[in-house]
Amino acid sequence: MSTPLGRSTMAEVELRGIAKRYGAVQAVADLDLRIDPGQFVSLLGPSGCGKTTTLRIIAGLVRPDAGQVIIGGRVMNDVPVHHRGLGLVAQNYALFPHMTVMENVTFGLRMRRAAPADIARRAGEALEMVRLSGLGDRYPRQLSGGQQQRVALARCLLVEPAVLLLDEPLGALDKKLREAMQVELKSLQRQVGITAIFVTHDQEEALTLSDRIAVMHQGRIQQVGAPHEIYETPRTRFVADFIGVCNFLEGKVIGRDAAGVTIRTDGGALVSIAADEARALTEGTRVVAAVRPEKLTLRAPGGSSGPGLSARVEAVVYVGTAVHYHLRLATGERLIAYRQNDAAPAVALATGSDVVVSWAPGTARLLPEESG
Amino acid sequence: MPALLLTPLLVFLLTFFVLPFGVILVESLYLSPLQNPAGVGLTFANYAKAFGDAFYLRVLLQTVALGVAVTALALVLGYPVAYFLARTRSRRRHLLLFLVISPLVVSIVIRSYGWMVLLGRAGTVNTVLLALGLAERPLPLMYNWFGVVVALTHVLLPFMILTLASVIEGIPESLEDTAAVLGAGWWSRFRHVILPLSMEGVGAGVTLVFMLTIGSFVSILLLGGSDTLVLPLLIYQQIILLNNNFAAALGMLLLVLSLALLYAQARLFRVRGAA
């Protein structure tokens, strides 16, 4: 795909067995990841999970203790930073304060001694692409946060990097601007077709922007997948908990049949989960049943229709688009249920009322119990 | 790579800073041919002389006493100014900082000259005193301890003020406001809030000024008299008298004292911004 910035610059990125230790802390441990050309991948996790360290290892700013960084099929471990041909946008944009916008943007090309006429032309195009034409003579301090961010982007794109690295670049912006920039960033990435690795702790942002998300925790990747995969089929408790809101029922496997697995929760309730994965779940194994609040249905007690857990409504929170019900099961566990505000009256159940909670088969997940 | 970059400076300092002091050390351990017809080698005789003779001990004592006096004066006189400087709003502050720093960039001989014109027998102060009838004859304000203390306090006051101001700036004004609301008058606020929280700065300032005072030489030479003898001046005199070895021993004494204070200062004041 040809762009105003020149030839296509997609490259795939592969990390094999990357590890990095700082003193007593293992920042990154045995990390494997493959990113296809042109993909937008987010490294998502809480602070301290190793996502920024991983990004800096890819950039060459940090040397890994073990493992290989392979970009475009070439092993980059011994390649110095300035020869890797990547682009980096940091949270504070790192615009050179003593240079004008134009000088900032053309920095990479000037360092490579490109022809001046060429530089001027391409710089003009780049500025147009990020809608900053005419601001070439300004200094960074004269620009707004959003404008500075776009200058940082243009500066990266002009060197036609194989991969674009972004370290929480939208963190300093306020909510509205942030959302606008998310859209712009994504469309720019699509347009140029560049491979992008995006570090963030904001799961909503990751879900919005990414083709794939790698959820990280304590130096390891817990799960990689498309946003809906991560959300609907989390593989660990951490992932289920970090993305969105989730209910957890801890218990022990007490039976297994063709349809699924029966669990006795710690509170004593009996729950059936459709176990779609062929997993060796012996009786007595401790597991966690995870179900999202929007998947729960509430009905009045008494009468029919199948299995369910008795509960009492402890609190009702009205948030406009939905109503959140905070429930306590008869067996003591707590659950949250969301009900879409699509019928009148909005609030169907009062605090203190008894309900029966259930969910459709297949909407609950079985997760291994996490140690610690 | 860092080693390479540091090398020029390190080599330069080693040659022109460490080595010279090494030479002093060596010189201090020998006796001059005149005193030493027997040709004795390394000896501590110079040090023995320095510590053994009451005269030299007195000089040492005077040096320390001067240090204490000037430091105390600088502290008491400078503290209020430091507080004012730390609490003042920006526009005026710039000018005030300028006023505090400018004496420091003017050569010490010029400042001494100014004092000599002021404090001399026919100087400005005496002229004014006589004219106002506050004295019958000119007061001896120079060539004695008085002149020395005035001149040194003048030289060292900015150092004390800047050190203290820097620390007081770090004490949030809200603490004083809270104390005031709770009923503390200015003295109580000073005694219970500002002073305790500024002790680190006081320690640093005191160490700095003391160290600079005992190393002072020019002001005392110019404004002092025959009885205002301190260690640096003694060293100078001994050089003039060509008693190089003894001067070297005295120099080593001063060096040890200064290094001890330097060490104390480095521990006391963690420099803001650097390291």
Partner: protein, 261 residues
């Protein structure tokens, strides 16, 4: 408020001797008097026609300029090395490198005197230059370190990622941003050399005399001629001018975090 009056008094005290020294130069009297009874510029004329004074002024300016250049050339790489990576014994090393600032000048002057004699270098202008560089280089180190440590590390990193080699990064990004610190340090170095007495007094000869040492010799001989005032006035004008320049480039506010040591 009392505090204001008191501070005004202290500020007046701090400026007093300098005002007096300069004021004497504008007097028409034969002896130094402040305030002068009548104003005149004749002492400047006397000073300017005094060969010792002219030589001393020239020597001082040349010496201070060379000192400044040398301190920057030696000090900048050293500051770079200290900032980049945490070296073993770093704080001890830094204390050592900054120590000439705190040790008594008279000590160092004597040390250099012995050293130049013993080593055969002799009392030359180069010897004085070396001594001045030793006492001035800590200033350059200090200001450069302060500015360098305040820089956003991300700027150098980003330059590297964008393809600038370490040398290109230093030249195009780091150095321009360090410039205020270097200039400030250089100005301090100039002032230190230009003003210095305790070290210079041991090392200068009639041929290599400096301006402050010349003034010193007048005073030691109890000669308070207003010519000294005129010489002083020239010096004061120069150094205050440089201080204003220093303020413009670096900002005096920054200096407090430096002079407080």
């Amino acid at each position: 408020m009392i505090l204001r009056l008191y501070c005004a008094a202290v500020f007046a005290f701090l400026s007093l001797p300098i005002v007096v020294a300069v004021g004497v130069a504008f007097g028409s009297d034969k002896i130094a008097r402040f305030p002068p009874t009548a104003l005149s510029l004749r002492w400047f004329g006397v000073a300017l026609s005094n060969p010792t004074f002219i030589t001393a002024l020239g020597n001082s300016v040349v010496l201070a300029t060379l000192t400044t250049l040398l301190t920057v050339v030696i000090g900048l790489p050293a500051a770079t090395a200290l900032v980049r990576r945490r070296l073993p014994g770093q704080s001890l090393l830094e204390t050592f490198l900054l120590s000439p600032l705190s040790l008594p000048g008279v000590l160092f002057g004597v040390a250099m005197l012995f050293f130049l004699g013993a080593s055969g270098f002799g009392l030359t202008g180069w010897g004085i230059l070396a001594a001045h560089v030793v006492i001035a280089v800590p200033y350059v180190l200090r200001t450069t370190l302060a500015v360098y440590r305040g820089l956003d590390r991300g700027l150098e990193e980003t330059a590297g990622v964008l393809g600038a080699s370490p040398w290109q990064t230093f030249w195009h990004v780091t150095l321009p941003l360090l410039r205020p610190g270097l200039v400030a340090g250089g100005l301090f170095a100039f002032l230190t050399s230009f003003d210095n007495v305790p070290v210079s007094i041991f090392l200068t000869t009639a041929r290599t005399t400096t301006l402050p040492v010349t003034i010193m010799s007048y005073l030691v001989n109890q000669d308070f001629d207003p010519i000294v005032g005129a010489i002083s006035a020239v010096q004061v004008a120069l150094v205050l001018g440089l201080l204003v320049l220093l303020d413009r480039i670096y900002g005096i506010g920054q200096i407090t975090s430096l002079s407080g040591q």
